[in-house]
């Protein structure tokens, strides 16, 4: 089926069709990336960037335009797949992607991967981190800021423990330590860190966030995790806005 025929049958103009199909392919590339099918993801992203790609259903090559936001998402995902060895190149590409993406007024959840990647790229390029208020659950950004602090450390574990000792409510550092101990098979040490993290969390919205509670249920003994689970339920029951209804419905 040729493109003109497809346009006629769909009722979309050629430009509208290009934009809609570009969005679908960008999303498909993301799915391939998450499925660890890197070769197909890279091909799709490259096709979107070069504006030459096959339709999912129609085996035919067309030259087409992709809108700026879709292109920005593709650029971001391409860097995840194939980062340049030059950190300044990565930073420049990410900056360009963010510049195209931000004017579309994305939701916070949509903006978060861009911010996290930017923070990481800035750290690798030795560019001082911006003094912006950190979302306490934005672990990717917080972790990327640790990069420079940890890069020259001769004993990374000791350094992480030292940072955690200063602030045991630091979710990013706490989770890094939990992961470190878990990968090393030190389940008891991982559980001890998690208990300290949960105990130190003053912000109940963080303390009872589903991911942390779920981790606690899998790591801590039942006598410790059950009261936490019930406290979390009581906390989310009292909330009247935001995501709590989904959490209550899905978890309990």
């Amino acid at each position: 089926m040729c493109r003109l025929e497809l346009c006629a049958r769909s009722g979309l103009t050629g430009d509208e069709l290009k934009v809609e199909q570009g969005i679908i392919l960008a999303q498909l590339a993301f799915v391939k990336l998450l499925s660890n099918n890197k070769a197909e993801a890279a091909k799709l992203i490259s096709d979107i960037q070069s504006q030459t790609y096959c339709l999912l259903l129609v085996i035919s090559h067309h030259y087409r335009n992709v809108d700026a936001v879709t292109r920005a998402i593709a650029m971001n995902n391409q860097l995840v797949l194939e980062p340049s060895e030059n950190p300044f190149t990565n930073l420049r590409i990410l900056s360009a992607a963010a510049h195209s993406f931000t004017p579309s007024k994305p939701f916070l959840a949509q903006l978060r991967p861009f911010n996290a990647n930017m923070a990481l790229a800035e750290s690798i390029a030795k560019k001082p981190a911006k003094k912006q208020k950190l979302d306490s659950l934005d672990c990717a950004t917080a972790t990327s800021r640790l990069y420079m602090e940890l890069e020259d450390a001769t004993d990374v574990l000791a350094k992480l423990l030292s940072i955690f000792h200063r602030d045991e409510s630091n979710v990013a550092v706490g989770l890094l330590l939990v992961q470190w101990h878990t990968q090393a098979g030190n389940r008891q040490d991982a559980a001890a860190i998690l208990e300290r993290l949960i105990h130190a969390s003053k912000d109940l919205g963080v303390k009872y966030v589903p991911g942390l509670v779920s981790l606690a249920v899998s790591l801590l003994p039942e006598e410790a995790s059950t009261p936490l689970l019930l406290d979390a339920k009581r906390y989310w029951d009292k909330q009247t806005s935001s995501v709590q209804s989904s959490i209550i419905e899905g978890t309990f």
Binding site: Q21, Q27, V31, V243, S245, S246, E249
Partner: protein, 97 residues
């Protein structure tokens, strides 16, 4: 405000009303409901189970459904939903999401 759970509840209530007073109102409500559900799933990390699309399996609904499936880690189903999203450009003869 990004309060997606509340917007899901509101759209669910509106969907019950049928939305027949304005042309394509039901389709718009279903489409917005699917978007709110998908974003709510991404935000809370928890799915909300099956739901009826009221026969509206158009591009937006299929695409939003794929977005929700990705959040739940159901990548194969998400791919199928994306293929259906593209097929929905064609006349309505395909199966629903």
């Amino acid at each position: 405000m990004e309060d997606f759970a509340t917007s899901v509840r509101i759209y669910e209530e509106l969907a019950k009303g049928g939305g027949e007073s304005v042309d394509h109102e039901a389709e718009d409500i279903t489409s917005n409901l699917s978007a709110a559900r998908a974003q709510s799933t991404w935000t809370a990390g928890i799915g909300r189970g099956q739901y009826s699309t009221h026969g509206n399996d158009g591009y937006e609904v299929c695409f939003n459904h794929a977005y929700e499936l990705i959040a739940l880690g159901k990548f194969s189903e998400a791919e199928e939903a994306l293929a259906r999203a593209e097929s929905s450009f064609l006349p309505p003869q395909q199966t629903g999401c």
